[in-house]
Point group: D2
Chain length 354, copies 4
Amino acid sequence: MAGNSFGNLFRVTTFGESHGRAIGGVLDGCPAGISLDTNLIQKDLDRRKPGQSAIVTQRKEPDTVEIYSGIFEGKTTGTPIGFAIHNTNQKSKDYGHIKDSYRPSHADYVYDQKYGFRDYRGGGRSSARETASRVVAGAIAKQFLKGIEIHAFVSQVGNLKLEKSYLELDLNAAEDNMVRCPDQEMASKMEDYIKAIKKDGDTIGGVITCVAKNVPVGLGEPVFDKLHAELGKAMLSINAVKGFEYGSGFEGVTMKGSEHNDPFNADGSTKTNHSGGVQGGISNGMDIYFNVAFKPVATVIQGYETIDKEGNKVVTQGKGRHDPCVVPRAVPIVEAMTALVLADYTLLSRTNKI
Amino acid sequence: MAGNSFGNLFRVTTFGESHGRAIGGVLDGCPAGISLDTNLIQKDLDRRKPGQSAIVTQRKEPDTVEIYSGIFEGKTTGTPIGFAIHNTNQKSKDYGHIKDSYRPSHADYVYDQKYGFRDYRGGGRSSARETASRVVAGAIAKQFLKGIEIHAFVSQVGNLKLEKSYLELDLNAAEDNMVRCPDQEMASKMEDYIKAIKKDGDTIGGVITCVAKNVPVGLGEPVFDKLHAELGKAMLSINAVKGFEYGSGFEGVTMKGSEHNDPFNADGSTKTNHSGGVQGGISNGMDIYFNVAFKPVATVIQGYETIDKEGNKVVTQGKGRHDPCVVPRAVPIVEAMTALVLADYTLLSRTNKI
Amino acid sequence: MAGNSFGNLFRVTTFGESHGRAIGGVLDGCPAGISLDTNLIQKDLDRRKPGQSAIVTQRKEPDTVEIYSGIFEGKTTGTPIGFAIHNTNQKSKDYGHIKDSYRPSHADYVYDQKYGFRDYRGGGRSSARETASRVVAGAIAKQFLKGIEIHAFVSQVGNLKLEKSYLELDLNAAEDNMVRCPDQEMASKMEDYIKAIKKDGDTIGGVITCVAKNVPVGLGEPVFDKLHAELGKAMLSINAVKGFEYGSGFEGVTMKGSEHNDPFNADGSTKTNHSGGVQGGISNGMDIYFNVAFKPVATVIQGYETIDKEGNKVVTQGKGRHDPCVVPRAVPIVEAMTALVLADYTLLSRTNKI
Amino acid sequence: MAGNSFGNLFRVTTFGESHGRAIGGVLDGCPAGISLDTNLIQKDLDRRKPGQSAIVTQRKEPDTVEIYSGIFEGKTTGTPIGFAIHNTNQKSKDYGHIKDSYRPSHADYVYDQKYGFRDYRGGGRSSARETASRVVAGAIAKQFLKGIEIHAFVSQVGNLKLEKSYLELDLNAAEDNMVRCPDQEMASKMEDYIKAIKKDGDTIGGVITCVAKNVPVGLGEPVFDKLHAELGKAMLSINAVKGFEYGSGFEGVTMKGSEHNDPFNADGSTKTNHSGGVQGGISNGMDIYFNVAFKPVATVIQGYETIDKEGNKVVTQGKGRHDPCVVPRAVPIVEAMTALVLADYTLLSRTNKI
């Protein structure tokens, strides 16, 4: 199957290269009757867009979405929602230097090998610019998922790790700072650190934590399409992601069963939540929470040595305008993918019983 | 989409409950012309089966696979391969105690909520017994993937963590001990630890590391069906898995771009491999390696308090014959799922160019 | 996608060759809670099975289905239903003559070309024996589709064509004769004709008409997955089918819009039903009816000349025990495929609105 | 699955309503390396567009396609091809009369029932305007299918039926007249007839025949995804189609096996071609040919009585600018869908053997 669609019943297909005419997509299977607030779509796009703060890339892209179909008199009609974001600020000449050489830890080399050639401008299809289309679809999914709250936030930048549980934090506070960390003190440290990294022409990795509250019991389709398996795939499909864990995650391996098991309350809720809101691949009504690891951005401004298409050594330097750390802008992307999974699985769950 | 199929072109669908008449599946899309050694299928089943050593469940199931179709005169025909493993050792009476109560951190509660009722015997469909079908399909995938080597092994049990890189180990040595850890000294410690845990009627988690060598450049279908995203989903779909990371993984977030980037050699290979053999979602010809985190088995033999269907408290105790630690038996399952992904993406990659 | 699955949410995957160990399949996505009468499954299998009357092949196959999973205490559990029919009466030696030669208008030649070789025994995977698995899945679908009635019957054999509308017939009467034509006088003529054809060692084509009553308004997923498009694919996937038309069909092309349009009654029903119960790809609540054209069975007992693998001429003769006319036994297959489509689209329709 | 995608590996998803901002789509899975002549896309769009001749609707829509992605330096890149056609000539006020009433044999009623409400302007999503997106994707598929020739033409209008076989005709001559019938004498009669029908404010049905030459042996994925089954679905998904038959079709049911079977030549080709180029669901290298039946357009300009949303009688009249007969403009749509199926199955066939 061509790899540019995500979801089964609530299904988005995206298109577009970093420096092509437009990026966009089609959201198919969105149920009819949602009163759609398009400002909320733009708001999420603005949380993702370049140039929004001092610690992100200074490219200026308005990222204004045009919706072509599927909405009538303010409501979704049940027909596919086509949309596009026209590219306006492509400085393609910034990328002449990568036309014939391969940037380390980028997708340049593998695209050339896989497809025979590539649109090298700004990374082409492999650019994270594509994720703007996901944010559009995710913002619509959020409006379908009334009552479910999805909060993503930055919980680690380099070695700066928020040790508090999400339960101790006011998750809405994440939007109060440019790092998107709900602990203002830690946010401030992270901000300083990212600025220092940027000054060095270097980059740094980070972790985004995401929490989904009020998810009903019963979402998830065992045995292969377990809810957390699809969430994991969704997150791993985001540029620069290297890892995913939910509930107790990698820490959980050091626990004993007698400690790890979540005892029930009389109403079916659990006293602890090492399960992370999912048991046997199906949501159990508790908070779903997970961590997503992002590697440092591959484009460093420092000079580096690499190879050209013929395998000759070339010395080059990162140009363009890049993010020193990807996580602040990736927060709405993590939320969008979460919303897409939950919307899809909400529809799937309608078919489980007679 | 019904959730019991995995893969696009090389696609397995499984069926079967722990204590039903049989488990099994259909492997559809397996190319014609593979000379199939059915002993290799049985060998992988034997690596997974209960009762194989002192540190796994003592249930005795022969797990003999019957292949019904798709093979003629020793070769795959390109038509679907149907297979079944008849259940022979179901002690259903062992499970009477869970008929009306919900075991903590099992799928009992969510199945009841999702489907209205459940086959409670031995966990029904949610039992890891289902993974035997995956092992069958995976063993066929391995034979399709000639030249590619897939090695999974146990790298952590509780806090006992193998700190060596897989490059320093003889991966074939993993089969020399019952834990399936290629470092014999560590294996011995892990074994002792699991025995102690078992004696306490408790369970413990662990990590499996998997390495795939000789994977050609070009496998992976961006942007959603990135190779590592599908591998992640495959792993997360295995019972008890809580996390997945590939290449530098969660550690990678603490690195700077200048350290993390993998410089090229003249032939397109890289000097380091923080990328874990995948860049931009596409294999780059380097070793693919990843970690899979397994929680402690939920069934503990110690007594515990839980609720029944009406929400009343009940005190119960784990019965049946269970694994104190799931990772030794999960090694062939991780390999099987890896093989299924690589087989599927090998077929997909045939369609990328004119 | 591997081609042995049908349906999206209510999805069957079949396996098995004519002379392999077993045929069977997996029905995935069947909702939980159906009280399943397995006698009804066997009853439909008996309507399809060989040897049931003087005008069908005299092979004797009991065609007893074994259900392996997905049913507990008489009810579907929402988990996949695995099933198999073991082959018991394979006279493989009957097919030695086709091992190295290609029967005209069979799939022998194309299977060899496509897959490199083939299981030649009894046509292997291309045998209509595979349709027994469809009948099993369809019989379960029928039980899910409570209230919807599906009646297929033979409306034409060779030039003997039932000119009456289905509205003038007692459709239940189709089972009163071995041809499965609800008009007993015509049935009698058809029967005599088939017997004569059989005596000549020849075969003849036919048409099956199918009517689905009480289908609710709203089934069908435009624009590609229109209800009648999926029904058409379902029918065309049955062995020997050459055409499909619904409602006014090919006759409708000669009508004017002013004649063909179906005027509304006040309740949304229509005064005429040239639309065949589907408008714009969506059921409108009126009877769905369609015709399915079957070619004459390719295996003729008369001698014929053909080629072997090297392209040499060989003279051969149809052996084995074959149907002189396929339509009497194909009636339950048409019903099964209709039920599978309606079950799938019933589930899909649950996702159209918020 | 949301119903607005077609194809597995070569997969188009369309969006757009008749009177929305734009229609368009995404073609995903198109292999890299096709040198794309965009004039050929526009040429096919022009064959479909309104206003092209005296016998089609006189709406004027330029139908100019904008391609947003997936093409670089004149070649496909293997990434998704996003495209849009902006709507420029929507006279929405023409449709005020159908806002609250249901036109007979249109999709108005069923859309309201299925989705709760509808974009009523010009039929919204159910308008044949959507097929322009198919023509774009199909024109790209044609360029991928080098060497395969696809010819569709009008073979019947009302009772005017071309009795000649396609083998007796110069199929390229179909474009020499406005009806698109390759027999100029018959074309002339059809043209006069359509003009007369139009004058009466009425409409008439027709048949399109399609021939695909030089299709290689081996396309088709039994048992459900037989080549002709997918072609049938593709055709039945086109607006106003009521039937599909291939090869001998409905005529074939009156033939005996001894007449119908296609004897082999020494090279595997056949002396006759009742099979229509497909045996057992797989192409056999002979010409593929099939007929597609179109009903008369439902919009008649004559006055008619119908109901409103409350079931009250209303008398209304077809307004807008409509086609008296749909087949002349549907010829490129039939070709486009044929090309899409063949492109998809060409890719699928690359995976059949090791």
